[in-house]
Symmetry: C2
Subunit: 256 residues, 2 copies
């Protein structure tokens, strides 16, 4: 956990270790000043327990946050109890960064696992981060569009594969994946509520994917047999969001 008092001199060092900062670096952050103030923000991190809400739908957003460890999710609850996850938030993701003066949360943000978050440097304080923030916002939106396509036009098997590929891609960017494997701290029930399915059907389709040799999933750990082949099989193309050269967004892991 980042609790040590970080100085500018440590900044690069921190950058290299903290998954959140690895992720931001992959978005094109390579500025020492930005790194220093990020390291500073990281030093002021605080924990949040699983199942706690970070923001609640319709209420004012207290302050922006950056997720450092653990998984969170944006979720909406319908009056009759149905639940829809809009997106998952991984280390490095920004929460509630809005240009508006008094933004209201458009969805509840809940900690899926125990989580560590911090208050990110504001753009005013650290203009060097503006680019990374803009890119992060654009990527966020691209993933929302991907979620819409998933729910609207993919069948159950495709939805599962597509989401797992997306998560693998994002975790790889943060160096939180180990080759084709990664930790997936979600129940099938949560996955179902993200994919617009029932947990029973998710279960059946996951088993079929296992039988087809597309993946292994046991004890919270997923291994994709061949991400590139799976992506081809379901016609997935990862989101591209910036035309700037040298910005490594949406890296596809080489097939095994």
């Amino acid at each position: 956990m980042p609790r040590n008092n970080a100085h500018a001199a440590d900044a690069r060092h921190e950058l290299a270790r903290e998954p959140a900062l690895v992720g931001l670096a992959a978005l094109g952050l390579n500025d020492a000043a930005g790194a220093a103030s990020l390291a500073d923000a990281v030093a002021r991190a605080y924990p949040v327990r699983a199942r706690r809400e970070l923001t609640s739908e319709g209420r004012p957003i207290a302050e922006p946050r950056m997720l450092l460890r653990g998984w969170a999710a944006r979720v909406r609850l319908l009056p009759d109890g149905r639940r829809q996850f809009m997106s998952f938030l991984l280390p490095g993701d920004l929460i509630g960064m809005s240009a508006q003066p008094q933004p209201l949360a458009a969805a509840t943000v809940i900690a899926v696992t125990d989580v560590v978050a911090c208050r990110p440097p504001s753009i005013e304080e650290t203009p060097a981060l503006a680019g990374a923030y803009a890119l992060s916002a654009a990527l966020d939106e691209a993933y929302l569009l991907a979620q819409i396509t998933r729910l609207g036009r993919l069948n159950a098997q495709e939805r599962i594969a597509d989401l797992l590929l997306e998560l693998h891609e994002r975790l790889t960017r943060n160096e939180m994946a180990q080759g084709n494997a990664f930790d997936l701290p979600l129940t099938q029930e949560v996955l179902a509520d993200a994919l617009g399915l029932t947990s029973v059907h998710v279960n059946r389709m996951v088993q079929q994917a296992r039988r087809d040799g597309d993946l292994q999933w046991k004890g919270g750990r997923v291994t994709l047999a061949d991400p590139a082949a799976l992506a081809r099989k379901i016609g997935r193309t990862p989101p591209r969001v910036s035309g700037m050269q040298g910005v490594a967004v949406a890296i596809v892991a080489p097939s095994a």
Copy 2:
């Protein structure tokens, strides 16, 4: 069509007539300077034919746009021909406004009807607009989240009602609705591709909604029998996006 050369003196006048500007005004724009430069932008409007692409997915965004007349949509095509509409764009909506230096379009934007668009004043030129732009972006995102919930957790009937209510709400904000009625320039096929359904099923469900007395739909014109009651029936709550007092976002029309 806005072709007359607008001066600052005309600004308020223009504001009162152009649906796009009415919509922006409802987002809290009440600054004379902003209005003048908007009127200026409007004076440089240009038409785009139905079915033409305004931006194409994955390509660089040429320039930001503001829609003034007609309908457009953000759409994604899958390799096998499946199609998903992410959102509909109405007069006053901004297209491709990104803080990024070289943004790529995350989805194709296509003109659904003949359309008139213009280049909106940049924030740098006209800081008075920053607030309205931020609010507009927030509202955009809220509608994306609504679309996700619709596709993930509503059944066919609820999806149709929910989308029609959303459109009615947005058109009302632009004063483009006449009470509970509004023009809907969409085929059932397009609606189906927005709702993640087939056109056959949309057709059946629309007919059922007619039988239930929830709506009329004939010749491109929809009348909702009682929007408030329909919203209650499907448990819909319109998005709220700002805590600023006096910002009239997401007005619900009074029930008939």
